[in-house]
Symmetry: D2
Subunit: 359 residues, 4 copies
Amino acid sequence: MTDAHTTRVWRIATDGPADTQGLARLIEENSIDPSQIVAIFGKTEGNGCVNDFTRGYATQSLRQMLAAHIGVAAATDIAMVMSGGTEGVLSPHLTVITRGAAERVNPTTDKSLTVGIARTPVIASEDIGRRPQIDAVAAAVGTALEQAGIDDPADVHYVQVKCPLLTSQKIHQAEGRQQPLATTDTYKSMGYSRGASALGVALALGEIEASSVDDRTVLADMSRYSDVASASAGSELDYCEVIVLGNSATATGPLYAQHAVMQDAIDAAAVQRAISGETADHTLVQVLAKAEADPAGEVRGRRHTMINDSDINHTRHARAVVGGVIAALSGEPMVYVSGGAEHQGPAGGGVIAAILSRA
Amino acid sequence: MTDAHTTRVWRIATDGPADTQGLARLIEENSIDPSQIVAIFGKTEGNGCVNDFTRGYATQSLRQMLAAHIGVAAATDIAMVMSGGTEGVLSPHLTVITRGAAERVNPTTDKSLTVGIARTPVIASEDIGRRPQIDAVAAAVGTALEQAGIDDPADVHYVQVKCPLLTSQKIHQAEGRQQPLATTDTYKSMGYSRGASALGVALALGEIEASSVDDRTVLADMSRYSDVASASAGSELDYCEVIVLGNSATATGPLYAQHAVMQDAIDAAAVQRAISGETADHTLVQVLAKAEADPAGEVRGRRHTMINDSDINHTRHARAVVGGVIAALSGEPMVYVSGGAEHQGPAGGGVIAAILSRA
Amino acid sequence: MTDAHTTRVWRIATDGPADTQGLARLIEENSIDPSQIVAIFGKTEGNGCVNDFTRGYATQSLRQMLAAHIGVAAATDIAMVMSGGTEGVLSPHLTVITRGAAERVNPTTDKSLTVGIARTPVIASEDIGRRPQIDAVAAAVGTALEQAGIDDPADVHYVQVKCPLLTSQKIHQAEGRQQPLATTDTYKSMGYSRGASALGVALALGEIEASSVDDRTVLADMSRYSDVASASAGSELDYCEVIVLGNSATATGPLYAQHAVMQDAIDAAAVQRAISGETADHTLVQVLAKAEADPAGEVRGRRHTMINDSDINHTRHARAVVGGVIAALSGEPMVYVSGGAEHQGPAGGGVIAAILSRA
Amino acid sequence: MTDAHTTRVWRIATDGPADTQGLARLIEENSIDPSQIVAIFGKTEGNGCVNDFTRGYATQSLRQMLAAHIGVAAATDIAMVMSGGTEGVLSPHLTVITRGAAERVNPTTDKSLTVGIARTPVIASEDIGRRPQIDAVAAAVGTALEQAGIDDPADVHYVQVKCPLLTSQKIHQAEGRQQPLATTDTYKSMGYSRGASALGVALALGEIEASSVDDRTVLADMSRYSDVASASAGSELDYCEVIVLGNSATATGPLYAQHAVMQDAIDAAAVQRAISGETADHTLVQVLAKAEADPAGEVRGRRHTMINDSDINHTRHARAVVGGVIAALSGEPMVYVSGGAEHQGPAGGGVIAAILSRA
C-alpha cells in the first residue's frame, strides 16, 4: 500500500511548444519541487494528427529544461503526454502534477486526489491492437492503481494511456519474421493501439469482462468501452505508459477528481456535472476531456460534415466544439481536450474529468 | 404603413448545397406557398472564405427550382443569403421565411415576428467601405423597417446585409477612371464592405450618430458598431440587400424575435438569454448568430491560436466554437452561424438572435 | 463500323465553376455546334476530394446552358467529367470534344483523333469494386471502341471512366438485402470503384488476361494496371460512363492523340515524349494526365511527406507537382490533371495523353 | 582579404525535424569536422507559414547535438536557416556547409565555391521594413563578401538573409515609445522585413542605386529587386543574419556556384541553365531556389487559383510547383525551395542557384 501523500496540480500557460519559462519560474521560486513531478499533460498548437511535431518539440524542450534541475534520468522518468490541437478557443498550456509528502492530515474523511503511473513491457508489433496489448495495459493499470492507493474502481476518474504505433520500419521487421499484424497501415495502427489500450483500461476496472473481449473486439464492437480511458498513440515509445487519476483515502490535500461521460460533443449536462464542485465554494483546477466527431455522421439527429471534410481533419473539428462547450460552461479556455476516442466512452462522446479544490 | 400580415419560418435540412428537395416537398404538399417566400438564409458546407462556391451553387439550385413554380423574375426577387462553413456540429440547412396574409388576429397584445427587405442603388467601387455606402445602407434599412411595420428600433433584432466587394475587374475600371479606392486588395474589400454595411445599420437604428462616423471609422474605430447587424460580402451583386427581422404590432402569428449580444465566442449567458422563451412553453424555431476569433488573440485572458493558424482560416475556428456553444445550450445543431464581424457587435463577439414560437 | 467523321477539341478558360460564357460564346458565334458535343472534361477549382462541390456546380451550370440550345435530353446525354483540384499553376478550364461529319478527306494516310462513349448497365452495390464491375466496364470499352472506329488497342491513348461509389444509403440497402460489400466505407468505395474500372479497361485492351484478375486483385495486386485508364468516382451516377480517345483511319481532320506512361510524378522524359509532335510544326492542343503521390512514400529514393500530411490531402500535392511539370515542359498551365490512380499506370505514376494538331 | 580555403557541401536526408542522426554519423566517422561548419540550410516538413514550429524544432535539435561536440557557444555561432514546407516531392533534408583549410591548390584558374556570413546590429522595431534595415543589411553583405573573398558582384550567386519580424510584444513596446511602425500587423511585418532585406542585398551588389530606394519602395515598387537574394523572417532573432554563396579565386576545391533567375514558377529554361554544369561531367550537388505564386493571379496568361485558396496558403502551392519542376529537370527531389519572394527576383519568379562539382 502507498504512503500518505499529497498530489498537487499546476496549470501553466505557454507561448509556444518550446516555452518552458512558466514552469522554470515556478521551480526557481520554489513553488514546484521538480523532483516531485510525476506527470505533465500538455496541449500544443499543432494539428494533432500524423505530422504534428509540436508534441515532440514540447517534450524535448521540457526534458532539456528539467534535466538541468534533476538530471537526465529523472527527467526521462516523468510521464509526459502532449496532445496536439488547440482549435477554437483552446489555449496552449501545461498541466503539471506533483506527488509529495503529505502536507497535512486530511481535514475531512474525504478522499483526495492521487496519481499513479506504470509502464507495460515492450509491446511486440504483432501484439499491437490485440489481446496481448489489452492484457498488458490492464496489468499496468493495476500497478498504477496500487501506486495511487486506489482499491475501488469507482475512485478512478481518468486513465491516460500513451501507446506505441506501427512504423514502416516495424512493419517491415514483422513481415521479415512472418508475423501477421493487425494492420499494415501506419495511420490505422494508431486507432488499433488506442482501442486496445482503452479496452485494457476497461478490463482492469471491471467495465468489461475478460471473456467478452478478444482480437476481434478492437475497432469492431464499439459497445465495449471504458468510461474513463483516454488513449493517444505515438511513435516515440514501444511500450504503453499509464497515468491514473483518482481519489484515495491515503492522499491528503484539498484536491479531488470526478468525472462524467459526454454522450455526444454537445452534452452540456455532462460537462455541468463534471465541473460542479461538491459545494459551491469548491474551485475548478483543471478539466481533461475526449472529443470525437460522431462516426455515424449525425449529432442529435442532425447531419454534420466533419467526417467528409477533406480540408480539415475531423478530430480538429471535434476538439474545437468540445473545447468551446467546456470553455463556455466553465469560463475557462485553458483545458485539456484530446481527440480520437476508440473504445473511450460511447461513440461520438467520451470522458470528461475535472480536478477541483475544496480550499 | 404595412398591412397586417403573418411571418412564418421553416428550417429545412439539406443533403448538400444543391439539395432543394426538402423545400420542394413542402411546396408540393402546399405547406409553403412559394409566392410568399421573402427570404432564404442558408448554411452551406464550404469553407466560408474566398473560394467557397457552395454559396453560389445553393443559390443557383434554389432559384432554378423556384423558377419552375413562380417564374424566373419572382424567384430572383427572393432575398437569398447563403453563408458558407458548417464547422464542428453545425448542420447544413435552409431557413425559409414567408410573409402572408394575417392568419388570425393576434391573440395577445404582443408584437409578432415581421420581416422587411430592401435594396440600395448600385454602390460605386470608390464608395465601397466609405460613407456613401454607410448612408445607402442606412436608407435601405429605413425602407425595410417601414415594410416590416417597425417604428421602434428596439423592435429590431437582426439585420442581415449582403453587400458587394471589389473584384479585380472593378479595381481596374476604377483605376481607369482615376478613382482612388478604400483598398485595392480583393479580400480586404470584403471587410471594408461588411464594416460599412454594419455602420449603416448602426446609423439607421440610432446606435451611432451620423456626425461620429466617416470614411476613417471603417475598420479603424471598432468601438462603433451595431448590436444587431450581420453582414456578408459577395461578388454576385453590386448593390446591398437588407433583410430586417423584428417584431411588429401589425404582424400576427405565434412567432417573435429577440436577441442578445455575445461579448465573446463563449458567452453562454448571452446565448441563454437569446434562446429562452418569454414563458417556459415557448419553443425555439431558429437561431442566427455571428462568430469571430477575437482579434486581440485572447479569450477570457487566455491566448488562442486561431489567428496565427495558417492551415485553417480563423473564421472556420470561430464558427465551430460558436456553433458548438449554441448547440450545447439549445440542443440544436441546425442553427445559422456566420463568420466575420467587423463593426457587428463588440470585437470578438456579435449578435445572437432567436426566433421563438408562443404556440 | 463507324462512319467517317471529324473530332474537334476546344480548350476554354473559365472564371469559376459556374462560368459557361466561353462555351456559350463559341456556340453563339457558330464555332461550335452544340448538338455535336460528345464529351466535356473540366478542371474545377475545388479540393478534388470528398466534399468538392465545384464538380456538380460546373455540371449543373453547363447542362442548364446547353439545355437552352439543344434541349434537356440531349444536354443530359453529353458525357461530362469534372475533375476537381487546380493546385499550383493548373488553370480552371473546359475541354469540349465534338464529333461531326467528316470535314474533308484525311490529307494523309495517318489516322486521326476519334472519340467513343458508352455506358454500362447499373452496377449493383455488391458488384462495386469486384469482377462484375470489371467485366461491365470492359464490355462498355468494347462498345466505345466500336463507336470510335478503333480496332487496334494500340490506337487507344486515353480511356476515362466515371464510376459510381457506395453512399451511406446504398450501404444500408445492401445490408438490408444481406449482400456483403467490398467495403462499407464510403471514401474507400471510391478507390474500389476506380480500381475495378481501370482493371476493366485493362481487360478490354488486352493489358491483362481475364484469368489473372478477380475480386481479390482490386486494390491488392498493383502490378496489374492499364497504361491508358483514368477513372474517377462520383455519387451522381450508378452506372459507369466510358470515354475513349484514340486514333482511327475512319476519322479525318488534323488532330491526333498519343500517350506515354509517367513512371513517377517527375518523369520529364515521359512528358516530353507525350507532348512532342510527329513533326516540329505540330501544335499541342491539350494534355490529359493522372497524378498520384507515390504510395511507397518515396520518389527517386527520396522520402516525400505527401501521405503523412494531415493538412493537405496527398492528391492535392500530387496534382500540383504533375501540373507544374507538364506546364514547365509544355509552357501551358491549362491542362487536365486528375488525381487518384489505382490500377491506372504504375504505382506513383500514370498515363499522360496529348492531343496534337498536324495543321 | 581572406585566406585560401575550401568550401564543402553535404546534403543529408532527415526523417523528421528532430532527426540529426545523419549529420551526427558524418561527424563521428570524421567526414565532417563540426568546428568547420559555417552554415546549415534545412527544409523541414511544416507548413512554412506563421505557425510552423518545425523550423525551431530542427534548430533546437541541431544546436543540442552540435553543442555536445563543439560547445554551446560555437554551436550558436553557426548560421542556421530552416525553411518550412516540403510540399509535393520536396524531400526534408539538411545542407551543411563547411569552410576549412585549402585542401589543395586549385587545379585550374577557375574560381571555387566560397561562403561568407555576417550579422547586422539589432534592428529597432521602427526600422523594420525601412531604409535603416536596408542599409544595415547592405553593410552586412559587404562584410560577408569580404569574408568570402569576393570582390566582383558577378561572383555572388545566392544571398540568404534571415531577418526579424514584429511580434505583439515589440509592437506594444514601440507604441509605448510612440514610435510609428511600418505595420502593426505581425504577419505583414514578415513581408516588410523580407522586402527590406532583399533591397539591402540589391543595394550592396549594385543592382539598385542608393538614391532610388527609400521607405516607400518596400512592398510598393516591385520593379526594384535583387536577382540573388532569398530572405526569410523569423521571431527568434532581432538582427539580420547574412549568408553569401559565390565563387572566389581565394577558394580551392571542386565546387562552384552559378545561378539563373526564374521569370515564373514554370521557367524550365532558367532551371536548365542553373543546373547545367560547365562541362557534361560536372555533377549537381545542391539547388537553392525561391518560389512564389504570381501576385497578378496569372502564369503565362492563364489564371491560377493559388492566391484565392483559403484552404492552402499560396506559398505552399508555389513550393510544390517549383520543387516539382526542379526535381523533374534535375532528377533530384532533395532540393532547397523556399517561399515568399518580395523584391527577390521578378514578381512571380525568383533566384535559382546551383552548387556543382567539377570532380
